[in-house]
Every structure is written in C-alpha cells, then in structure tokens.
C-alpha cells in the first residue's frame, strides 16, 4: 500500500473509533450524574434550583469531552492536513 492509501484508511478508521469512544464515555458519565442528581433532589426538594444548576454545569463539562472527540473526527474527515498535503503532492506532479 502506498502512503496515500495508508493515510486515507487510517484517517477513516480512527475517525470512526474516535466518535464511538467519544459517545460512549460521556454518555455513561452523564447517566451517573443525572442519577445522583435525581437522588439528591428526592432527598432535598428545597434545593432543587441549586441542584439543577450544578447538574447542568456538570453535564456541560462532561459533554465537552464528547465535543473534543467530535471535533477531532471532523478534522480527520474534512480538514485533514496529511491528506491535503498528499493531494497537493499528487496534483503537483
């Protein structure tokens, strides 16, 4: 396999794996966070405003790791510098 094929295959496979891990991990973590928040709400309904706000902030922090994985996947598929370099080389020949 020449380098162009290797770059394409590696980018595609790794983009898929990145997205899949990036969706699994945060989903599990957010599920645990919401479960704990619901338990806390059931025990102390008066503090629902604080608990809800803290829950949302925590969920956003967890979600941001999923977003990092998504951004890396998008870069691999649409703005891949190695692929652009190889394409420029092929076009230059």
């Amino acid at each position: 396999m020449d380098s162009m094929t290797i770059i394409a295959v590696a980018s595609i496979i790794v983009a898929g794996i990145t997205t899949s891990f990036g969706c699994m991990g945060p989903a599990l973590a957010e599920g645990r966070a919401v479960a704990t928040a619901l338990t806390a709400l059931a025990q102390q309904p008066d503090a629902s405003a604080t608990i809800t706000r803290t829950l949302f902030v925590g969920l956003a922090m967890i979600e941001s790791t999923a977003i990092y994985c998504f951004v890396v996947s998008m870069i691999l598929i649409f703005a891949n510098p190695f692929w652009n370099h190889v394409i420029a080389q092929i076009a230059g020949k």
């Binding site: 405003a49 604080t50 706000r53 949302f56 902030v57 956003a60 979600e63 941001s64 977003i67 990092y68 998504f70 951004v71 998008m74 649409f78 703005a79």
Partner: protein, 233 residues
C-alpha cells in the same frame, strides 16, 4: 462541506475579507445595541411600563440573581461583562430561526475571542478585588509546587471554553446540513429545534463558568471575613 461561516466570503479586497462571521457579528451587535437604546430611552418607574422594558427587567434581574447564586457578592460590578457574554451567545443562537443566517459562534475565531476575553477578565477582577499581591499569591496556593499547574489550568480552562462552544454550535449546523441531504424535511426541522435548545444551554454554561472562574479569583481567603450564617430567619 462547509465547516464554518468563515468560508462564506461576501467581499474581498486584498488581505481584508468580509466573511459571514464578521457580517453576522456586527449585525447582532447592531440589533442589540440599537434595540436596547430604543427601549431604555423612555424608562418609567410607575406600575405601568412597556412590555419591552418589562422584558429587559426580567432578563437583568434573572442574570443578577444567577450571579449572586454563584457566589459573587456584588453582582452589579460583574453584570456588564457576564450579562453581555450570555446575551451575545444567546442572541447568536436564537437568530438561527432566520433563514440564511449562520451563527457567528460556529466559527472558532468568535469563540476563541470570547474565551480570551474571559482569560483577561478573570485576573482583572481578581486584582481589582484583592490587589496585585493578593491575587498573585493565589497562584501559589496551596503550595509553591502547584504554581505551574495553576497556570496550566488557567490556559486549559480558556481552551475548553472556546472549544466547547465552537463544537456545540458547529455540530448543530453540520448535523442539519447532513440530514438535509438524506432525510425528509421534518428531521432537519426537529434538529434545528434541538440546536436552539443546546445553544441556549451553552450560552448559560459559558456565562456561568465565567462567573465561577471570577468568583474563584475574587473569593475572600481570610477566615475572619467569612460571614457567619444568620440563624434567626
């Protein structure tokens, strides 16, 4: 596949490019500044007031209450900065209803700019509250060994703020674009509504995180100044 509104260029002259990000940002600024100037030109303090003034009052008091809940003692000092962050990102998201509009926060330039504003504002508020020596001493807490880690955490917080907002906005626009090509029209409509919801949540998250960072930089550290909880309600 268009990754950001940076690539929609309206007009170009040499090095200067008027792309969609700049055009929509200035459009938003114009609408918000002119709109609020018009609404606040005739403020009334009696029981009857115009509905627009009512709307602005609801927004301002809600933001003030949120800032106070986070732990900042004097919300009026901070509401200029934090309120602007929230309103700009929220308005940028809400206007996606208008056809042909791309949110400027879907471009990495805008989100990095906003995150840099937070990066500069946190030390400024900290120094204003505690003096230069007091603020710089906070980097050495709890021990001197933590100094590089505190500095790294400042930088990574800023980066996380920028990439979080950019990723959420960009993914919303991209999913709608992809779905438009493969599914009936109802699904992109539903995804646009979801994009509105996540955009508003991200606006709230951005400003609340900025408030939390400022609160961490300005909290009083001497134990005798901690307020005793008032036990007789």
């Amino acid at each position: 596949m268009r990754l950001s509104p940076d690539e929609m260029i309206f007009w170009q002259y040499g090095l200067f490019k008027l792309n969609a990000t700049i055009a929509f940002t200035w459009g938003l600024m114009f609408i918000m500044a002119v709109g609020s100037k018009l609404i606040t030109s005739k403020l009334s303090t009696d029981l009857t007031r115009s509905r627009w003034q009512n709307l602005l009052e609801i927004i301002v008091t809600a933001i003030e209450k949120q800032i106070e809940d986070v732990g900042l003692k004097n919300p009026k000092n901070y509401i200029g900065f934090l309120g602007t962050l929230f309103l700009f990102v929220a308005m940028a998201t809400l206007c996606t209803i208008i056809p042909g509009y791309e949110p400027p926060t879907a471009s990495l330039s805008t989100t990095v700019a906003l995150a840099l504003c937070v990066l500069v504002a946190v030390p400024l508020f900290g120094i204003e509250d505690q003096g230069m020596a007091g603020y710089l001493k906070s980097y050495i807490e709890p021990t001197v060994i933590m100094l590089p880690f505190n500095i790294i955490s400042e930088i990574s917080r800023t980066l996380a703020l920028a990439v979080r907002l950019f990723g959420n906005m960009m993914s919303g626009a991209m999913i709608i674009g992809i779905l438009l090509t493969i599914t009936p029209f109802i699904f992109p409509i539903v995804m646009t509504a979801l994009g509105l919801l996540t955009g508003m949540v991200q606006a709230y998250i951005f400003s609340i995180l900025a408030a939390v960072y400022i609160a961490a930089a300005t909290r009083v550290r001497n134990p005798e100044a901690e307020s005793v909880p008032n036990l007789d309600t």
